[in-house]
Structures are given as structure tokens and as C-alpha cells.
């Protein structure tokens, strides 16, 4: 890890100002993606802006229509929250399946979503539930947020404040985890809403995506059998030493069927 200047602003405005003024700054949340990449020298920012001193970014609230989760809320708080467990149990169980206990104590939902790792779990919940992402300057829909591998609609210096999840009629998340890291080799988040079924798949392709063929089939007939004729294009799948593209395409359907069986 190269040396850098460390800053700990106490408000969002101060954080944005620092980001604008400094040469090559980066935000730090839980650090469980950023610090490993700094150690590998994949990134060498001049300045690190720690968001932990900003009040109001950490917490869970269900007083209105949506379940609101602050960007700095650690995975463990989401997984053990009685509110999340009762409003969207699939979200609590997704958070409880991330990495290991120590990772869940430090890693945050905002860091995971802003990072848009192709194998990360939270993007599947954000897209599957059709969440809204509140930043310092606007509110984005999940459908426009994830734009590619490690890419999102967030602009330079834009800060994610909160994620708002609408309560679904039912939802389930099933993943085939990498046995070492627990990242998703393939993970399927299946949601039933009054407007229809949403199927978001992570791990399989360069970025989380909605399986629209599956959604159409399930809107006509919500059953495992409805997916029998469906296959995903292996050409759009990731391939690495853990799983070939064909295997990932196959897993998408298997995980989707398991998710249906849980609903």
C-alpha cells in the first residue's frame, strides 16, 4: 500500500468539498474492498476520505413505505436486524451469507453497491427488489444504476447516502457461493411484486442483470416448470477457474428454480 493523506470529514458537504479539491481522492467505507486493492496497488490514490465520521449514514429505518438502509450500515447489522428480518427476510439472509463474520462486521452495503463487483451479493437485492439509491445530489432507480463491471451511474465524487427497498409480496435469494470467499459464482434474487416478477442475477455476467425471459415466463406461470425451456446465452457469461461460461449459464436456471421453491 502506497502512502496517502487521510481525512475524516464530519459532514457530507465537507466530504464532497474534499473530494473536489484533492488531486486523486477516494472514499473509504468498510475498507474490505478498497484496502485489499490498495495493498495490491491496483489503486494508488493521493487521498483517502473516511466516511465513518459523518452522522446519519448508518442505520435501518422502516417508518415510511420503504425499508431504508444507510450506506454505512455493516452487513452484520442488516443480517441481524429484527426489522429487516420481518420486512424483507431475503435481504437479511443475503447479508448473513456475505463472506465471513469478520467481513460482515466491517463491510458496508454502500461500499458493496458502489463497487458493483460482478460477484457481489447486494447488487442482486438492489436490482431484484427495484430499490432506489439516494445520493448527495439525486435519487437513482436500480434499473439505471449498475452500468457494467465495477461501474455504476455514480459520477466522480457522488456519494451514496441511503438505499430504499420497497417491501415485496415475497422474495428469495439463492446463491452458489465460491467455496473460499463466499462471493456469488451465481446468485439469483427473485421478487414477487404487485407489478410482476423481477429476477436479478449476480456473479454470472460482467454486471448484475435482470433475466427478462425468466420474468416473462414466471409472470405467465409462477412455477419451476415455467423455466424448463429457458436457457441463458453462455456468450454473455463470465468465465474463470471457478466456473466456465456454460456452467454459469446452467447455474442461473438451477438457482432461479431453487429461489422459486423458497417463495
Amino acid at each position: 500500500m502506497y502512502d496517502f493523506n487521510y481525512h475524516k470529514p464530519s459532514s457530507i458537504d465537507e466530504a464532497i468539498q474534499l473530494f473536489t479539491d484533492l488531486e486523486d481522492a477516494v472514499y473509504l467505507a468498510g475498507g474490505h474492498t478498497l484496502l485489499p486493492s490498495l495493498k495490491l496497488r491496483l489503486a494508488a490514490p493521493t487521498d483517502v476520505i473516511d466516511l465513518a465520521g459523518i452522522p446519519g449514514l448508518n442505520g435501518i429505518d422502516y417508518s415510511g413505505d420503504d425499508l431504508k438502509v444507510g450506506a454505512l450500515t455493516p452487513h452484520d447489522d442488516v443480517s441481524t436486524s429484527p426489522v429487516v428480518q420481518s420486512v424483507i427476510p431475503a435481504l437479511a439472509s443475503l447479508a448473513g451469507g456475505i463472506g465471513d463474520a469478520q467481513v460482515r462486521n466491517r463491510g458496508t452495503i454502500g461500499g458493496s453497491v458502489a463497487n458493483s463487483d460482478p460477484a457481489a451479493d447486494y447488487p442482486a437485492a438492489v436490482l431484484g427488489l427495484g430499490a432506489q439509491l439516494v445520493t448527495n445530489q439525486r435519487t437513482l432507480n436500480a434499473d439505471e444504476f449498475f452500468t457494467g463491471m465495477f461501474e455504476t451511474a455514480l459520477e466522480e465524487g457522488e456519494l451514496l447516502k441511503e438505499i430504499r427497498f420497497p417491501k415485496p409480496e415475497a422474495a428469495a435469494y439463492v446463491k452458489y457461493p465460491n467455496p473460499a470467499s463466499r462471493y456469488a459464482t451465481v446468485g439469483v434474487f427473485m421478487t414477487k411484486t404487485s407489478e410482476g416478477v423481477r429476477v436479478a442475477i449476480t456473479g454470472a455476467a460482467p454486471s448484475v442483470f435482470r433475466a427478462t425471459d425468466m420474468e416473462a415466463a414466471l409472470n405467465a406461470d409462477f412455477s419451476e416448470a415455467a423455466l424448463d425451456g429457458i436457457s441463458l446465452d453462455a456468450d454473455m457469461m463470465n468465465e474463470d477457474l471457478h466456473a466456465s461460461a456454460e456452467y454459469r449459464a446452467h447455474l442461473c436456471v438451477v438457482m432461479a428454480k431453487r429461489a422459486i421453491s423458497q417463495i
Binding site: 475498507g31 484496502l35 473516511d50 465471513d100 467481513v103 462486521n105 466491517r106
Partner: protein, 156 residues
């Protein structure tokens, strides 16, 4: 950039100057000579560096010392000493929960957090709870026995 960090380590107030890119584990081992906390991988995988921050198990190789400003840190040295072992340390010894001992400080810190937070434990919960800690020697069976034994003592 040199910074000054203040935190409470094993019940003692500590203020230390260090470069901004210093990790907590480097501060503990190199500056405070608390070498009970080990570095197995330095890539957040093995859990040998596990300590408690405000009571919760974290990997000290994947947090900056600066992020621990004002925090309460407990390391294996703060849990017990040779004359006065913590029940978890005692149980690891009794149950032969270690061989080379390299993973042991991290295992014990994770296990103590696990027992403190889970209302009831069984083998599956213990194995899943220790997923962030890798042991290359024991095959884990005796570690699970040690945690079960310690949990009974800690709850009495």
C-alpha cells in the same frame, strides 16, 4: 502523511504517531509490540489477525489504524495471561484445539465473539461462525470441541 492515532488497547489508552497507511495489525505488532496477533495472509482471508474492535471480531490486517481512532481494541494479550487464562484459552488447551498455534489467537478472538453473540450454539453454528479463520493443522474437530466446552463455562 504522518498522523497521530489514539485508542484504547487492552484497557490502556494509547496515542501513537504512524504513517496514514498503517494497518491496525502493523500498529499492534510493530509499534506496541503486541505480537500475539498474527499475520497469516495479509489479504483478509485467514483470520489469524482477528482482534476485537468495540467488542466485535474484525481482521486487523484490513483496517487502518486511523479508522480505530477512539475505539476499544482487545487483542489476545488482553483476554488473559499465562496465570489467568480466559475460559476459551483454557478450553483450547484442554481439548487440544491447537497444534502449531499460528491460527490460535485469531481463532480464540473469533470464538469469544461468537459465544458472546449467539444465544445457543451447535456444531453447525460454530463451524459457520469460524468460516473467517483458517487452520492448517488441526482439521477443526478439536477447535469445535474447544468452543463448545468454553461456551458452557462462559455461560455459567
Amino acid at each position: 502523511m504522518s498522523i497521530s492515532v489514539s485508542m484504547n488497547v487492552n484497557g490502556k489508552a494509547v496515542t501513537q504517531a504512524c504513517p496514514a497507511n498503517t494497518t491496525l495489525v502493523d500498529l499492534l505488532r510493530e509499534k506496541l509490540q503486541l505480537t500475539g496477533t498474527h499475520v497469516g495472509c495479509d489479504t483478509s482471508q485467514c483470520g489469524a489477525c482477528t482482534v476485537h474492535m468495540n467488542g466485535r471480531a474484525i481482521k486487523a490486517c484490513t483496517i487502518l489504524a486511523a479508522q480505530c481512532e477512539g475505539a476499544e481494541i482487545t487483542t489476545i494479550e488482553g483476554l488473559g495471561d499465562a496465570d489467568n487464562l480466559h475460559p476459551m484459552q483454557e478450553a483450547f488447551r484442554e481439548c487440544h484445539g491447537l497444534q502449531c498455534g499460528f491460527c490460535t489467537p485469531g481463532m480464540i478472538m473469533s470464538a469469544v465473539d461468537l459465544v458472546n453473540r449467539e444465544a445457543s450454539l451447535d456444531e453447525t453454528i460454530i463451524r459457520e461462525g469460524l468460516e473467517g479463520n483458517i487452520c492448517r493443522c488441526t482439521g477443526y474437530h478439536n477447535i469445535v470441541r474447544a468452543v463448545e466446552t468454553a461456551a458452557r463455562k462462559m455461560r455459567n
